[in-house]
């Protein structure tokens, strides 16, 4: 396949990225503002011999993709706030049983049914803390339609690399913004395929015995090796155990395999950071308004920079510390009441960290950001 150029919504770019990455199984439930992803996949997947399932709810959708992933498929589901809440229990199962999958949350206003057709980034905290118990998670985001395509591929690659669910935290503005995307020709973007065991049939395969590098080779469920999968704490054969040593080492493993690779997982973009006196930190669609302000002010000679986070979790604390060390002011631009700013305050002196936000369902404009900056810089309202 040659390189192609399309003019599509962010949601369609996600579909293109998923198919490029090798998606063959999708299960979902309709919910605004994510539904276009399901609609497009219902057309595209069967055409390549893949499977599209519309399930009875988001719980079943999440469970079905986990079952399909175990058999060796690349899988995805999409949802928004309320559906994301329903998926949390099964998300924990995928974390515990170490089953790769991609969950797309095109965020809308919450809590509850909230503000369904309006933009929000209010689920960022839920992506990390939504399911119960100690665990680590990978959550990515994107600000442009092209990035939605790229980060979707990235999500599949990270899910396979770390044998874990990866969450794509998109938002309504990104999902519904139409822009040009370039789909590279096949093979131009490296893809990570399922890491399968070399253990032969008849040899004792241990599905939960990590190698030295922490990776666990998989065996397609229903194939040559018979093993047990459970959401209970389990030993290397996947059999339930409450032996304190087994419990501690499993939880440690689930946490370390992701958090110890925070530098490898961190994706970000930076603009004019070298000499920036004021740094904006943003992500998702709000980073577009932040970039507009930065470029505008740079033309007037003001030392403003932007750090756009594309990986939200595991949070790149070290990156924030390094990039913002010389800044006088750091302002986090986000569409919620301050979810990422809390993480930033954990590594920077809180007196230099500010929040620039909107949470009324209206997209944050460059003017909104400029008005906040006047206050932060002590220039009045």
């Amino acid at each position: 396949m040659e390189e192609t150029i399309k003019f599509v919504q962010g949601n369609e770019a996600c579909v293109e990225g998923a198919l490029y990455a090798g998606l063959t199984f999708f299960a979902g439930y309709p919910i605004t503002p994510s539904t276009e992803i399901a609609e497009h996949l219902s057309q595209r997947l069967p055409a390549i011999g893949g499977k599209f399932l519309q399930m009875e709810d988001e719980i079943a959708s999440m469970c079905a993709i986990i079952g399909a992933s175990l058999t060796g498929k690349k899988v995805m589901t999409t949802t928004s706030g309320p559906g994301f809440s329903l998926m949390q229990e099964a998300l924990g199962y995928a974390i515990m049983a170490e089953i790769p999958c991609v969950v797309v949350n095109v965020q809308r206003g919450g809590p509850s049914t909230g503000n369904p057709t309006a933009v929000s980034q209010g689920d960022v905290g839920q992506a990390l803390y939504g399911t119960h118990g100690d665990h680590a998670i990978i959550a990515l985001t994107a600000s442009t339609t092209q990035d939605a395509f790229d980060m979707t591929i990235e999500a599949f690659n990270l899910a396979e690399t770390y044998r874990t669910p990866v969450i794509l935290m998109f938002d309504e503005v990104l999902g519904h913004t139409r822009e040009k995307i370039t789909i590279p020709k096949k093979g131009a973007v490296p893809l990570v395929d399922r890491f399968r065991t070399s253990v032969k049939q008849g040899v004792d395969y241990r599905p939960y015995l990590p190698r030295e590098d922490g990776r666990l080779p998989m065996s397609d469920f229903g194939g040559v090796h018979r093993y047990n999968v459970t959401g209970l704490v389990h030993d290397m054969w996947g059999f339930p155990s409450n032996n304190p040593k087994v419990v501690a080492s499993l939880l440690r493993h689930l946490m370390d395999k992701i958090n110890n690779n925070v530098y490898k997982i961190a994706r970000y973009k930076e603009y004019y950071l070298e000499d920036a006196r004021t740094i904006l930190i943003s992500y998702g669609s709000s980073a577009r308004s932040a970039l507009h302000v930065v470029e505008n002010r740079r033309r007037r000679g003001e030392r403003l920079g932007l750090l756009e986070l594309q990986t939200l979790w595991p949070f790149p604390f070290g990156l924030i510390r390094d990039k913002c060390a010389n800044a006088r002011y750091v302002a986090v631009v986000e569409l919620n009441m301050g979810q990422i700013v809390q993480a930033v305050k954990m590594v920077l002196p809180s007196e230099k960290v500010f929040l620039i936000n909107r949470y009324d369902g209206i997209f944050i404009s460059p003017t909104d950001i400029k008005n906040h900056l006047r206050l932060i810089h002590g220039r009045g309202v």
């Binding site: 299960a27 399932l53 469970c63 079905a64 079952g67 093993y227 959401g231």
Partner: protein, 266 residues
Amino acid sequence: MAVKDYIRDRFFPHIWCPGCGHGIVMNGMLRAIDKLGLSKNEIVMVSGIGCSARITGYLDFHTMHTLHGRALAFATGVKMSRPELTLIAPMGDGDALAIGGNHFIHAARRNIDMTAIIMNNRTYGMTGGQFSPLSGYGIYASTAPYMNIDHDFDVAQLALAAGATFVARTTTYHVKQITDFIKKAILHEGFSVVEILSQCPTYFGRKNKMGDAVDLMEFYKNNTTPIGSDAKKENPDLVERGIFVEKELPEYCNEYDKIIDRAKKG
């Protein structure tokens, strides 16, 4: 093969109480699988949470112990990916029909080829004997100390109405019927349901002063009757045993293959 050849003996002893009916169900199921001559590699067993759900860990198939009530949703993902595999979902009554009720009716509606085995002991055994949706009015349970006022429903009729194409019921007393019905259910192409009344002497029997395991099995003998029997006409309170329906309708995975053909033709 002998029944023991299907068992992961290193995972024994099992967690079931003395007198529990679930071991009888497991035995009957393994005999059915043996009679069908299925290889261990052809079978995927998916369970939820509860006493019944632990059956998967003990058996040497591809086994998945999942979330409370969600066995059929996980199984749907496996079956749609690998339609050639034989899917069996052993579930408890609370597991399948309270928390998992939605998945149950929708799996039946799709007529996806898998076998749901409902081990109905009319209680939540693992958590200590609370009433389930199948306990029924007038029953005592650890959360119904004054009496249960929730009405139960008929699993077989629910499955029929939801679209299951094979529905049968028996009890742990009628042990040969367990093997016979499960065998037929596995062979059936479509969503098959086998409800097996399975005694819980530890909680249901004790809370309701119905005696030990033997007494409960005698209760099954005396209070059930073949479908359409004269005894049922005389005493409508008897629970019917037998095959309620066995019909051929398009199966979901096969139907999806047609969708793929249509999509490929553009």
